[in-house]
Symmetry: C2
Subunit: 516 residues, 2 copies
């Protein structure tokens, strides 16, 4: 062989090798989109997450969620915490809320307790300023955030929509501090002041509100609904990594379908025509606007030729609102689930979840394994093919990637913990709705609630009683004992905060200490 | 030679070649920082841009500007337009203001004329919505923006601070539309509502103002002055391209030293102690805070090891304010220059400018060649080593890179055009200060003003009369004729808008048609 010719071959060969390496690197770092909806209930779509199609599924029009479910896997036992900031902090830290001490929603204002005052309990010194990257920042949880790891691994990281990771005056107020390179409209607030461009998304001259949505000045008075504006901005931001062939991570966290329940005029008329209560019609229009965004994103990925290398994870941050500000009758909005947002009953914590991962996830499948919001951290780390090194926190989440790769996999039972040592809103009906001062554990098909107000427990068998109507705690005392110990052990391990009695100044005991 | 050994050599060789290519690519794409100050006058620093050190130079403390000047080249005949948006749009489009029809500052509100009403002239239908990337957007100038070109060439593009490129409800309201990947606090407003974190930079509950600075919630009530917060955020954003070894373009456009003239408490005391008027002391503290930011950036580049591959361009967007809201006596704030912001006298248009380009620019040099803000576009394109292809606009600017590379280069005289067919603020003294309805041209050492109010001209020889005290128009009629024709020709070529007389509905004639 002629050495000059060899030189040529070798050059080509080594260039090919490098090319191959780059391509492999791309495959090892698929694009990842988390599509997070705010306050969306388990029943708020045409996709049935229950065994059969329910009346509420027929009320909503979500063709893009249906399409996504046909292309991916539907998780029917997916969970989040009962309110938003705890779930959002768990998502980006991998820690359970009992461990973060971010157990309630955070006020946009620093050191401001969102809890209502109570007659029985003291105010809790919880991490009311949210997440932080600064160990000296008071009342925050220190943790290495997921977007930071992705950014360091070479991902182009984009946040669009609701952030709500921490209060003004602290690092959590700014998504840049979490490792996002682009931030569109994310800040310290937990809901939009307005969805309307005509109201400048709440930036009304002379009337500043912390919830006025920032960064969308170009859309003022253009008739662009907030959900649409965020989608357009997110897609604009995606152009950059796609044109550069860099892997991207997009966290699109819609303000929809949180209050204020304003009509998305592109969709609301058909719900009025269908005879829905006016509030419910507006709510359904918010859902459909969110669904259109999902479709626009999927179409965009296809048009850009990156669909096959992009994972989409769809989830809501807590159960659907079932309360004041909704139309209709209380305790019906998540039927057959009981109660709604704020509650540790299923209506407050069970959420819609779909994962689409072309070439990995078997299309049109259903997975019944229980998963929880803190699983997103280790799962996305897994998906991105990166190391979970140099992180400062203890991870409670477990990767669900093995479940995606092997849909027949059976996992051993596992304790899913919900912890809400707070008073969300004072309403007399709340305490029978599992709202205010409750913990809960799901283990296998069993679900145990711990009512901290009176230190009582309830036990349900979810496989037979998803609506949690039949308290079995007096019948199944062995299960009660097992689950109170399990919940107590997990809360203790996570150094969970318990409410403090005004009368004695002492903490409410852990469930296994209270219930013998 | 053994072919196997050759293979090894060749692989190493080709890898080295690729490495070399990458390194060369980096060198061909140096990092670029534009450090733009708002409303900073030619005299507002310790760096003398005039022939000798003037009293104002001694009043200000700007050690970092002095350091930068020692490392780079000082342009003593650098110009901008008399107010901010025209200069900022010229900078990112390469077009002269007479051509963009963005000849005045833009209101944050769409279709809102910033001009004061006049007794003689109609309101002008100028591009009061600013820059746009949408040909259908009313009252905007369509142009391919500089950051877009840089982004497409692989630069990591960051904006921090004042944007002011267009009105709310139009694309110019959002720096993302200009090709910035990161936007920190840039929006439609032209000044900050407040510099103070204690006032949440103007985001006061219940009191929304368009000028409230967005995106800095994490700094609320932390005692961080606006200038400092923007610097910290800009440096945070720079971490990403530096760690990825990507070339970056940072446009750090401070809100300082624009009104409101609030004290930067880190620096103000020494100016009070020096006996300065209280407004002037606060102004000097804004200047020094801005200078600290420059130093922090230079130190950061050094610490990160990228100083040698980073170009910094320092400039102001117009002359220093010399008017209401300043302390002391009118027409002294830019001494020896006449007048200030808003004026086509030198005080309104001559600006401090320094360029630091390690390895290219000879340190501690001075360049007297006249340059103008629209030169930034072709110069930065040159510096970045990228093509100026596929741009939709006609470029009026000329690259000053040849002047940087060859400080002895002499350029042929060139027409620099200033055009302000507006009424900035109605004050009786304005018209003798070159403010309201003036055009001007600088050509060689000659400067001609055209007063559109009465269609008269003034002529000055700047080499002998930098303060523009001695109108030579009656003595040097040949020069008057030459410069009126030159100004008229340039204005006509650029399709400049002229004020319309209420009496006749006709446009004021171009200078060469008015003055025979």
């Amino acid at each position: 062989m002629n050495c000059i010719r060899t030189f040529g071959y070798t050059l080509v060969f080594s260039l090919l090798m490098l090319g191959g390496y780059a391509q492999k690197a791309m495959q090892n770092h698929p694009n990842i989109i988390v599509f997070m909806v705010d306050d969306m209930g388990w029943m708020d779509s045409a996709v049935p997450f229950y065994d059969s199609l329910m009346p509420l599924n027929k009320q909503y029009h979500t063709p893009n969620m249906e399409h996504m479910a046909m292309m991916g896997v539907k998780f029917t036992n997916a969970y989040a915490q009962p309110v938003c900031t705890p779930s959002r902090v768990s998502y980006i830290t991998g820690m359970n809320a009992a461990r973060t001490h971010v157990t309630n929603w955070t006020s946009p204002n620093k050191n401001t307790d969102a809890d209502e005052k109570d007659y029985q309990f003291e105010s809790l010194n919880w991490n009311m300023n949210g997440w932080s990257n600064n160990a000296k920042m008071e009342r925050t949880v220190l943790a290495t955030p997921l977007p930071q790891l992705l950014k360091e691994a070479g991902y182009y990281t984009i946040h669009a929509g609701k952030a709500h990771w921490g209060a003004m005056g602290t690092p959590g107020a700014n998504p840049y501090n979490l490792g996002f390179m682009v931030n569109i409209s994310g800040h310290a607030a937990g809901h939009p002041q307005s969805y309307l461009s005509e109201e400048r998304y709440g930036n009304i001259p002379g009337k500043y509100r912390a919830q006025a949505v920032p960064d969308l000045e170009e859309y003022y008075n253009t008739g662009t609904f907030l959900t649409e504006a965020l989608t357009l901005e997110a897609l604009k931001a995606l152009e950059t990594p796609i044109s550069r062939k860099e892997p991207f991570f997009l966290n699109i966290a819609h303000y929809a379908v949180h209050t204020p329940l304003m009509a998305d005029n592109r969709f609301v008329q058909k719900y009025y025509n269908a005879g829905l209560d006016s509030v419910e019609a507006r709510y359904a229009s918010l859902v459909e606007g969110m669904d259109k965004s999902l479709g626009d994103i999927m179409n965009f990925l296809k048009a850009k030729g990156v669909e096959k290398n992009t994972i989409i994870l769809f989830i809501s941050d807590n159960g659907g609102l079932d309360h004041h500000e909704r139309g209709g009758t209380i305790d019906t909005h998540n039927y057959p689930l009981r109660s709604g947002k704020g509650s540790v009953y299923e209506g407050g914590i069970r959420v819609p979840m779909i994962v689409k991962w072309p070439g990995v996830v078997l299309p049109k499948t259903t997975n019944n394994t229980p998963v929880i919001i803190e699983d997103f951290f280790p799962s996305i780390v897994d998906m991105a093919g990166i190391a979970q090194n140099n992180i400062v926190q203890v991870i409670d989440g477990q990767s669900f990637v093995p479940l995606l790769k092997n849909p027949k996999m059976k996992r051993a039972d596992r304790a899913l913990v919900f912890h809400y040592p707070h008073k969300w809103i004072h309403l007399s009906e709340n305490e029978k709705l599992g709202i205010n001062y409750f913990s809960a554990i799901r283990y296998g098909n069993w679900k145990l609630l711990y009512n901290m107000r009176n230190q009582s427990v309830e036990l349900y068998n979810l496989s037979k009683d998803i609506r949690e109507q039949k308290d079995l705690s007096n019948q199944y005392t062995a299960e009660v004992k097992k689950l109170t110990i399990l919940l107590g052990t997990e809360l203790r391990k996570r150094k969970a905060q318990m409410p403090i009695l005004k009368s004695s100044g002492k903490e409410i005991p852990f469930p296994d200490d209270a219930v013998q």
